[in-house]
Amino acid sequence: MSTRRNILYTVLYILGIAALAWSLIPIIYMIMSSLKTQIGMFTMPPQLIFEPTFDVYKDMFSARGNFTGFLSNSIIVSLITTLLCLVLGVTGGFALARGNFKREKDIAFWIISTRMAPIPAVILPLYLIFAKFGMIGTTEGLIFAYTTFNLPFSLWLMMTFFKDIPIDLEEAAMIDGCSKFRAFWQIALPTAAPGIVATAVLCLMFSWNDYAFASVFTGKGTQTVPVAVSLLVSQSGIKWGQAMATGTVVIMPMLICGLLVRKYMVRGLSMGAVK
């Protein structure tokens, strides 16, 4: 029995390590390639031990690389969108969790279908509206566009977080003469802090990682990093060195953020369905 169990565990660990290799080799290889010389990164068999060089990064961040422009656009758009959707999502989510509204089911379905609408089907009408108001190529336009998926997301997720908080404390405070809003502000909000952080990180990630909206709605000067990634692909070929370095810069902050709120990741990515 115990030898059988040992064999089973060995097999499971081998399969697990194989799955890890399949998942992680591309990411590790990208980071390694970004640190190799332009010749080294193409050598086969791949060099596993090499002297890292930061040439590509230095180039990207130098004055003529104009990468910092893309980066600051990405940071500005992601942060503002996140802040906006968080303020609306936290207040609205709390109201949905505690209030008693007519047609609550329809509101819920409306929120969720807005979040899940196919991106191309959202881009098109937004493009026409933006064109009418001269908002193509502006940062405001892109922020507005990101609200279309981040607002329903944060509303929904914050609602599930607030529903989990027992209402007793707020009710007790209200019997003591505290207003509903003060009960929200001083009791519910601090209790929901981890949920708010998790929602913020995911909103940040959805905006930071978006390419489709940014490719249509930005112009010179407002383009974000994912657009910069796509610009490295041209008829004459792909600048692989820069592509790997830019890719690394795109994923690093999200890997770190994701791991920081790892505990709430499942919950957020399943839109609150998994506790």
Binding site: L12, G16, L20, W22, S23, P26, S33, F42, P46, L88, G89, T91, G92, A95, R98, G99, N100, F109, I112, S113, A117, P118, I119, P120, A121, L124, P125, L128, F144, T147, T148, L151, L155, S179, F181, F184, N209, D210, Y211, A212, P226, S230, V233, I238, M244, G247, V250, I251, M254, L255, C257, G258, M265, V266, L269, S270, M271, A273, V274, K275
Partner: protein, 296 residues
Amino acid sequence: MLHAADRPMKKAKRNRTEFWMLLPSMIVLAIISLFPFFFMIYASFMDYRLDMDKPRFAGLDNWKNIFTDSTYWDSWGRTVIYAGGGLIIQLALGIGLALLLYHIPKFRNLFATLLMLPLFVAPIVAGLLWRFLLDPTYGLYNWFLQLLGVNIQILGDPSYAMPAVIMMDVWEWTPLITIIVLAGLQSVSHEPLEAAEVDGASGWQKVRYILLPMVRRMIVVALLIRSMDILRYVDVITITTEGGPADATKTIGYYLMQVAFRFQDIGTAAALGLTMLVVSIMLGRFFIRVLRSEEA
């Protein structure tokens, strides 16, 4: 002191705060969802091109265009293969991995955390990275394949491009199914499992008759989220194959982007987008209904 007579007033008052707290987000939500939606319905009945000053009324022309367009139906066909194939593979792998992680005695969290990492990679980066790995001259995985005697230009070959983009989706999103199902498994109580053990159930029987039925709800949740997202994104196809070669990877979402921004035929694109929206809402409704019946 609370009197019975105070109750209705108290309730109305309680709701009033919530009403004002909800109102701003509902207004913004209406602006970002209903306004574009009605605008799209309007555009679908117009002869509407990007270079036009005033769109002309076109009746049902756009709708006739898409329904008689063989590329439209072919794109849906490819979408079914892309989404269906991708979902089946990642569901099987994801559930398998979750069961694996559930059963190993040590390092479960470490494995789960590391396996999650592809989830955080921007799809556009994932696509470009895989393009690099599969590159016929420089690609690491291409080199592996050559060592095994396989010599194909994966992304340049119409019969391999679709499996390749499906595999990229599987690479990025299988972990989502794994962590959702694993969370479900970890919340299963031990009693039925112990009872089954006493009754002499085999390992496979425990999985088949106890664990899997108990996480069925989680599997539906994972399927709901993934099926919506696989229709949502076009990033990977845009950066790897641009719908090609020979239209082999042209899904409906990518075709919509083409009709709108390359052919600049907004009216037709609007009709096309509405059909996409209807399909995804119907699919979402279906899964939510399944979820509700599971809960009941």
